[in-house]
Point group: C2
Chain length 307, copies 2
């Protein structure tokens, strides 16, 4: 698998790591610019927001957003505030997900989670503030084209709302309490807890780039398959990799008795289904215009990841 | 004071209770229409959202929004989604504020709070979902006028953000831990934890009604004074009323050792300062066009309230 990826990347005649690095650097700078300064009042709250958002990570969603915008000819500059907005929403969802009343995780990437580094109340409020900041960024930075601002807010609110991201988290919680979740329930969780924001990232990039309805639909389909593949691979890695490689506790799902994709479908089938979704994402992407090399390479790197 | 209010209300030649009732009924119906149905998936999450939003209450913020919109000639229909949006944000902030890691309140208006009626995780997610739903409502229901949708999202995101509503909650939490908060710190808390959303309610109504910049500024000033008066009266009632009248535990602030307005300024001064803010709100309101009777009567009822 790794061999195929390497050959494919070489074929693409594009320096993917350098291009990825360029996007990630823009995002890191954007986080600094588009968040309230850490020394503004209330300082503790703004420090907690920055602490959580500056914890590193793949920056997958904002990179996908920038990549999709570029596909449709939008400049990085115009897409950056939306890219930071989607990372704010992703980070808020992690902060709240790590709280003691949810998954109760003390570490992320070897670093104390917000409620450990600060306290529960500060973490709760920092999450709330990041979610709110996401909409502030969209409503403030796209005023030159009010229809664009509205469309971005709508897309993000839908993807992050009670039927999708939060709905997925809710059903995930309910599923954790029972060891007999069905395939259908797990599909709902993956589709909403994970795929919703990956879809939204691509779609928001497309909206900024001026994609037509057909383009938006194709981006949504690409994101859906990519998101499902991503989450299944996550479950496979949880079952097979060690904690040091993952940067988080491996085997946690199995230990907790939680129903996982791997338990329901088996390891081989899970890998095959993930590969099918990756292939479907590739095929959908090929229907889109523009230079698709970067997004293709990103899909490969996601399929071949080991953490 | 109560006598003055009654005389004033009679003078206004408007049936304030009936008018208020009419607005509240529209809001209650709007909540039912603009929230996801309780039987849609995930049911538990949507039930918790509805349980919290349907807990009754004064509906002060949405009523102010409808009143301000009416002042500028907007129809109730056009203002209703925004009115529900602001009530969603208010309710989310209460749900999170009542959580064990924050104020740890089990009862509101004699009814179990969300984390008691459901559980902590569900309450956390229901709060998140209501905040997100507020932006979804604004982004979805004002598409005919995209600039309007954007302006409403911006106003709400600013008022609910880390420098205002959430910032006020953060400093309130920090102040609870010490008994020597300063007048300036308390002012920051009142201005942001309470006045921000009351300002936003009036301003959003004005935006929907097409108010010009001067009108918006005046609405903001009205809301600021009204919000400050409202919060000081809250502190006075906490120190003087009994729990049965308040519908929540009275004297809680004093018992917890928290610095309150009454402790810093004394009871008589607090009452005087509240009255000054009420008067300033009245004066600002008088600079606005349209039929101001309803908002005047609302200000009086807020100043004279006993709970």
């Amino acid at each position: 698998m790794a061999g195929t990826n390497t050959a494919l990347l070489a074929d693409l005649k594009m320096d993917f790591p350098a291009e990825l690095q360029r996007h990630v650097r823009r995002i890191e700078r954007g986080i600094d610019v588009y968040l309230p300064p850490g020394d503004t009042r209330p300082r503790r709250l703004h420090e907690a927001m920055r602490y959580s958002l500056q914890a590193g990570g793949k920056r997958l969603r904002p990179v996908l957003l920038l990549g999709a915008a570029e596909l449709f000819g939008a400049s990085d500059d115009s897409a950056l505030p939306a890219a930071i907005a989607i990372e704010c929403v992703h980070t808020y969802s992690l902060i709240h997900d790590y709280l003691p009343c949810m998954d109760n995780d003390d570490l992320r990437r070897g670093r104390p989670t917000a409620h450990k580094a600060f306290d529960e109340a500060t973490a709760l409020l920092a999450g709330d503030a990041l979610l709110t900041q996401a909409f502030a960024l969209l409503a403030t930075n796209y005023t030159a084209n009010p229809a664009l601002a509205g469309a971005l807010c709508r897309e993000l609110a839908d993807a992050a709302g009670s039927r999708r991201l939060i709905g997925g988290q809710m059903e995930d919680l309910l599923a954790e309490k029972k060891s007999d979740a069905t395939k259908e329930e797990l599909e709902f969780i993956h589709l909403n807890k994970t795929a919703a924001m990956i879809e939204a990232a691509l779609v928001m990039g497309g909206i900024i780039g001026g994609a037509d309805n057909a383009g938006i639909d194709t981006l949504r389909r690409t994101g859906r398959h990519l998101g499902l593949a991503f989450q299944i691979i996550d479950d496979v890695l949880d079952a097979t990799a060690d904690s040091a490689t993952l940067g988080k506790t491996a085997g946690k799902d199995a230990k907790s008795g939680k129903t996982t994709y791997v338990r329901l479908h088996g390891l081989a089938s899970s890998r095959r289904i993930a590969a099918e979704h990756t292939q479907a994402a590739r095929a959908a992407l090929d229907l889109l215009p523009g230079k698709r090399e970067f997004l293709h390479a990103l899909i490969e790197s996601m399929a071949g990841r080991s953490k």
